[in-house]
């Protein structure tokens, strides 16, 4: 009896894994091929679809690093400064708002909360023209300020929502006990809720990093000065300037640009998948 059911069960399992693995290989193939191509001489990129580099070389990385006006580490640095500032701004401002929504009762709470959810669905492009006008009148165009300052005012409602969901799941008895001990909201927020919310904060920091690092549209319009260029803007200059001739160098620098995102994905994938999953529920 068990033998009869086990045999088809096992072959079905093997078949399923084969399909899942094949699908994964198809998905990752372009990425692996890009990595392989970045260590091939450019002329073979157009001939060799395999992901095993024949005769590897780091020439593309060396030449690509200095192919633009400034060395590539300037762009990495510019991107990193904006990303770190955005993380600081988002964690601070979004957690304050989230604490108020999750733990405090006050007039207008429902309306504000609904407004916050509505901004989740608001496309960036609707706001970009007047925001650009505002920042150009402040003299902030061609500085990183338009990319950083709004983050300190909780404009990324996604993270407020994520943190509200998380704080709501924490037991209220903790705040009650602290309140009886004479703690005000400031101390409950800082001493109790924030330390317990580290998983939500890590998730928010990771997503902020990845989205800021990948962001192209706002960096494109605000950072015209080549000395301020970030990795995405520099790569775009590279691809347009070369007219698509130096694919090896382009790939090498593209991989340098992807590496931090990949690294944070490896280090924090648990936080990313859990954070994403919790936003789908009430």
């Amino acid at each position: 009896m068990t033998d009869l059911t086990a045999a088809p069960g096992r072959s079905r399992r093997v078949f399923k894994h084969a399909v899942l693995i094949a699908f994964g290989v198809v998905m990752l193939y372009p990425l692996l091929w890009m990595v392989a191509s970045s260590v091939k001489p450019t002329e073979t990129i157009f001939r060799d679809p395999s992901i095993w580099p024949s005769g590897s070389t780091v020439d593309n990385y060396v030449a690509g690093w200095t192919a633009l006006n400034s060395p590539f580490h300037l762009y990495l640095w510019n991107s990193a400064v904006i990303a770190v500032a955005a993380i600081a701004g988002n964690l601070l401002s979004c957690s304050l708002a989230a604490y108020a929504f999750a733990r405090m009762r006050f007039p207008g709470r429902r309306v504000f909360f609904a407004a916050m959810l509505a901004t989740l669905m608001l496309p960036l492009h609707v706001l970009i023209v007047p925001q650009y006008v505002l920042f150009s009148q402040l003299g902030w165009v061609n500085t990183a300020l338009p990319l950083i300052v709004p983050k300190f005012f909780a404009v990324d409602a996604f993270f407020i929502f994520l943190m509200v969901q998380f704080i709501r799941s924490l037991p209220r008895e903790l705040d009650e006990a602290a309140r009886i001990d004479g703690c005000g909201h400031g101390r409950i927020y800082w001493r109790i809720i924030m330390p317990l919310s580290v998983p939500a904060l890590v998730t928010s920091a990771l997503f902020t990093f990845i989205w800021t690092w990948n962001d192209f549209f706002s960096q494109l319009i605000y950072l015209a000065d080549p000395r301020l260029h970030t990795v995405p803007v520099a790569l775009r200059t590279f691809v347009d300037g070369q007219g698509g001739t130096q694919w090896g160098q382009l790939f090498a620098m593209s991989i340098v640009g992807l590496a931090p995102v990949f690294g944070f994905f490896l280090a924090g994938q648990r936080y990313l998948t859990q954070g994403l999953a919790t936003t789908g529920f009430k």
Partner: protein, 306 residues
């Protein structure tokens, strides 16, 4: 400590609440300010600008409905709308179907679930980058990876990104490649379905297919709806990939001219800020209408349990 609340049982909660109100607005202050300055203000300002001609150098000049009248006759706007709607209505269903199929496959007690989930999820994090747009430009180019592989089978491919019939298709494929994010959300939803429903149905003789359509799918409709709303809005905002792949033009022959590209071109290419503001407002109305339609239609198919 307990005595303090005990001695003033009536007034204490009231003053606590008042102090609480003030404290709450302090906590909310950054968000409230940001909402006013960076969201509501700009929405109203763009409504005003949409009735003007404005190029940043001179003050805005009142035009009345002129920008909107121009939009009616704007043939490039018409192609941008066709391209954008085609893109949204094709790429989102493809992406969500893949996401659901893979989530269901992974949820049926497969070993190594975490590994597969990571592999499938990774592209979602990378796909928004210029790096991946550059990769796509090569992969679907004339001598790109796809054609090299087709060549092995003796098939002569064309430049997929250079052909007006296929260029948008490469963007649909790129969006399908990011099915991992909605898949993660589906997987979390599938875990919430109690196993006993499936067991009971199996006892009653329901097969796998029947159980999927009668149990899994109805119970998952709220999550499908959530993913649908978010992905539709997300697809409307696509910019980077079309911009980099087409070299900023939306070409060939405007076949990848997404609405956002056209808005960028008018606003930041030729600095027609007034016209761009009108385009942005129209986009806001379209997305609001679609989201509202989504919520209204949801009543017909989304199942919210008991």
């Amino acid at each position: 400590m307990i005595g303090r609340t005990g001695t003033r049982p009536v007034r204490a909660p009231v003053s606590w609440r008042r102090r609480g109100d003030r404290a709450a607005y302090l906590f909310l202050a950054p968000w409230l300010l940001g909402m006013a300055v960076f969201t509501l203000g700009p929405i109203l300002a763009s409504l005003y600008l949409s009735f003007t001609e404005y190029s940043l150098v001179a003050p805005p000049e009142w035009l009345g409905l002129e920008n909107y009248r121009e939009m009616l006759d704007d043939s490039r706007l018409r192609s941008a709308l066709v391209v954008t709607f085609t893109y949204v209505f094709v790429s989102v269903p493809v992406q969500l179907t893949l996401a659901l199929a893979l989530a269901v496959a992974l949820n049926s007690g497969v070993r190594g679930l975490r590994f597969y989930r990571s592999v499938y999820y990774l592209p979602s994090l990378l796909a928004g980058s210029v790096s991946i747009a550059i990769l796509w430009r090569q992969v679907f180019g004339g001598q790109g990876l796809v054609n090299q592989l087709l060549d092995r089978f003796g098939i002569q491919g064309t430049s997929w990104i250079g052909h007006p019939d296929y260029a948008l298709g490469t963007l649909v494929v790129l969006n399908a490649w990011t099915f991992g994010a909605p898949m993660v959300i589906f997987l979390a939803g599938l875990r919430q379905i109690p196993a006993m429903y499936h067991e009971a149905a199996a006892v009653d003789g329901a097969g796998r297919v029947a159980r999927f359509f009668r149990i899994t799918l109805p119970l998952l409709t709220p999550i499908i709806f959530f993913n649908l709303v978010l992905q539709v809005i997300d697809a409307f905002q696509s910019f980077t990939q079309a911009f980099v792949i087409s070299g900023g033009t939306g070409g060939p022959a405007d076949s990848t001219l997404l609405y956002t590209l056209y808005l960028y071109e008018r606003g930041f290419g030729s600095f027609d800020m007034g016209y761009a503001a009108a385009l942005a407002w129209f986009l806001l109305v379209v997305i609001a209408a679609l989201t509202a339609a989504n919520f209204l239609l949801a009543k017909r198919w989304v199942f919210y349990g008991d």
